[in-house]
Each structure stands twice: as structure tokens, then as C-alpha cells.
Amino acid sequence: MISRRAALVAGGSTAAVVAAGGTGYLVATHDKPEPLSPPSVNADGKLLWRNWSGIQTAYPSARLAPRDEGELASMLKTATAPVRPVGAGHSFTALAPTSGSLLSLDSLSGVISWEGDEALVLAGTRLGALGPALAEKGRAMANLPDINKQSLAGALATATHGTGSKLQALHGDVTGLRLVTPDGRVIDCSADSNAEVFQAARVSLGALGVISQVRLKTIPNRRIRRRVWIEPFQDALAKAEARWAQHRNFEFYAVPFTGLAVGISHDETDDPAQARGADQDSAFLDALKGLRNLLGFSTPLRKAAARALLASAKPETAVDEGWKLLSTERPVRFNEMEFHLPADRQLKVLEEVVATLEKERPDVFFPIEVRRIASDDAWLSPFQGGARGSVAVHTHYKDDFAFLYELIEPIFRRHGGRPHWGKLHTLKDQQLAALYPRWEDFLKVRAELDPQGRMLNPYLKGLFGLV
């Protein structure tokens, strides 16, 4: 239902542009060309690497793909520094770029074995492949992020999370891991063995070495019911806390310049599978972009048109196994800033962010994602010490994102937000030390495991206050 309306909006904007002639075209043409990029091969013959959104680039002198843990250990000992592990390249921060060695764990993929209901998983396994692998045993991850392209190691390194007030981020399911240090040592750690390394390594930005395998808690692979609906933004705000308490997973998207929100809930069910249907997200985004292009000059008109076209869309329902529904395809690339706020300030911050965007940035059309995450105790977990509520602002990959630093980050910081490690932010060193009680402990473990800083690129040196 949403997609049909989206098509009408997208088509309508084209028709209106043609009808309005040149002036209309100027109003509507907010679509930008492909961003400029460096050459595919540099003067030294090295191949370009870019992250998913395209804003991070590098020409690594070596690209390493160890086939097993032994090869990983020997590669780490001799690789040209900085050695940076990379997964699916979904981080928007400069965690992966290196002029030295870019190391992929793509060959270390799959479930190795089971210990009861805990799975021993190779760390290069992509989340999208982990779901069906666990399902073969009738098990599943307790929660998943909304994109499943990431490697398990990359998702853990950046404290990647889903949503649900009783559900922790992915690293909350880790009961043990194996870390290969830059000098080739292999360290098994858990809460009972090498506990300090474990608490540091569960969320460690790929800065301590390379995690080769992970022991994961799993849950029974149940079917869940997914509901998606549109409602007034103020209703979404008023009902959010009750919904987080009620649903296994709940999140919503505030849609700026529409006065609307999109709610998404997931709950366990024994009902038979019900097909999810074709992807609606891209069509919805096209509709929002069409509204921006056509009516970006007038927020009242844009809101009125959005309500008329989108507010009465019928809710959508699907039933399937959790790993098939919790993550979705995100075929439209974007850049993103997400901060994790004290839960009791989340909605107030959201309101301020929406008001700021609607006052200052009519070019924004992406919905703002609002999630809730349970607490854990990993030292660099943004959820350490208490539940957090996340607010994520996106911009189309062709659009300006500098305003995120200028307008949005100050709001997040004023309310004690901790940045998502893989998403845009400017925090470093003492600013982070003030947010993380175990920051110095982490830096101490890092220095012990990598005294020469072979895992540190310039970005990480700055982050850790080592420049």
C-alpha cells in the first residue's frame, strides 16, 4: 500500500516538474550527481577501497585474506602496518582505511561447532549467512541489526545493535572469543578466563588484534510477527515507552517534514508464515524524496501533501522466522550519525532533532530511526551502565552530511549521548574518557596487546589520544 502511494508521489513530482517548466525544474532538482571520488587505481598501482556509503577511501599496500587462524597469526606478525581488519565496510567512521594492510576475514566463515545451545562461530561470518546456519540447528540470534551484510567481527567491534528494551546489542550474546594479537599470539578469553581482555575485546574497534572466532548464546528459532504502520508523530512519541514495554522488538522512524512516524514491531507467534511481500522501503524513500524535490520550498505544503498521500496507508503484516524479518535490505545508500542516549532523554532529544531539521535543513528527507537497547558491561559498549535509547539521522549518500556535525551532534552531546562507533561523530580521547568509566582500562589493555600500535591507523590514534 505504501509503495503504490510512493509511486504516485514519485510520478507526480515528475509530472509537476514538466508542467511547471524551468522554474519547477530548479525547485525539483535537488538530486545531486555522484560524489567525486579518487581514481580507481592510484599512481602506485594500488586499488581503491571505499566504504559502503563511499565517504571513506584508501589505497592499501596489501590486501590479506587468511584462510585459517594459523595463517591469520602468521600474517599479523609480518603484515605492513597499519593492519586494519575490514568486514562489509559498513562503518562511516575511518575505522578501516589504511595505507598498510587491509585484512578480510571473509574466508573464516561459518559455524565451527556447538557447545549445548552456544555456537562457536568463525568471526568473518556475515550476519546474513549466520541466520540460516543457526536455523539448521533450530536456533537463532536473540536480536539482529536492521542490516545483515556486516561480518560478525565487524558488528561486534562497533557495538552494532538491534532494538528491544530487554535485548542487548550483539556483543551481549558473546560468552567467549579468541583474539589473535598483532604479534601472532592466540588468546582465548571469557568472563572467567583472561577476563580483562574479554571485557575489552567484546567491543574493541579492531584495535586489539583480530578476533578469529566467537562463542555465541542462541535462542530457539521462533517465528515472529512483523507489523509496520504509519501514524502521527505525536502519537508515536506518546506511545513509545508503552510499546517498548509491550513488544519483543519495537522501533519507530520519525519522518521529518511530514508530521508522521512509521512504527515497526516484532513479536513471537505460532501463527503460520505469512509472506512479507516486496520491499516497500525504497518506494517510501522515493516518495519522501519526491516530496522534498517538489515542495521543499514550503514545509507546510510538504507536510500537508505527505499527510494526504501517506497517513492513511494500511498497516503491513508478515510472519516468518526472526532472522528473515529483523534485518531488511537497504538498497539506498546513506551516511548516518547515531548516538545512544540515556533512555529517559531519548524522546526529548528526538523532538529537538526533528524541530532543528525542520527549521534548518529542508533538504533532509530520510526518516530518523529510534531504537532502545538493554544494558551490558563491555568496557567500550555504549550501553555499558544502563539502557540506552538511540536516535539515528541519515542523509542520502549524494547529499551533504556536514550539518550532522554542526547541528545534530551538539544536541546529542548536550544530553550525554555516546556515539555509535561505526557512525559519524567527532568525539575523541578525553571526550570519550568522560563518557566511558573503563576508558583508561581499555587503553591499558590495548597498550599491552599492541605496544607498537600496529593496529592503529591515524583515525584510531586520534580517537585514543595517541597523537
Partner: protein
Amino acid sequence: MRAVLSAIAAILLLAACGEKPPVAPTPEQALLLKPADPRLAGLYETSCKACHAAPDTGAPQVHDRAAWDPRWKQGEAVLLDHTIQGYKAMPASGQCATCAPDDFKGLIRFMAGREDPA
């Protein structure tokens, strides 16, 4: 004369039929396709299949010649550059950090249904 024209027409018709791209695989068939080369098959599974064997993504689907042929006409160099740089919904390198240019060429040929250069 009529017989000659008929023969020419038949040849042209056959030629036209020969140019028609093969029928695209169904989504179920697409999921089973993979390159014959084991290395390429591994790279395809990890980096390409999630979008190029999933119709909802908008990516040209594997062995869908109707979708690939207009792209193929741009030439291998253009397709390779788009792959390395990223283009529209396609992320740079298909997020394959260890793919070399020859890997990309092989993967493009496979997905475009052009594995046999002849």
C-alpha cells in the same frame, strides 16, 4: 525469387531469434547459480549474491540478460570502474575487500551471463 526472399526472411527471423536474450532465471533458480571457478564462487557468495540474486534490491539479477545487456554494451572498462567506485545503489567493490580487478571482471561476466566470451 519468392523462394529466395522466403529463405532470406527465414534466416533473418532465425538471426533475430538468436539475438533475443535467454529467459531470465526465476528467483528460485537464481539462488542456485554460482560461478564455475571455486574462487569466484566464494567471492560471489559473500559479496554479490545478497543483492544480485534478490529481486527486491533493484540490482540486475544474475543471468538476467535483459537487465544486463544494456549495461554490458557500456563496455567492460566502464562496468569495472562502476564496480570499484560504487555506482548508485551498488556499493564500492560490492564490499569485497579482497577482490582484484580480474575477480571483478570474472564476476561481472558471470552475472551478465557472458561467461563464454565467444
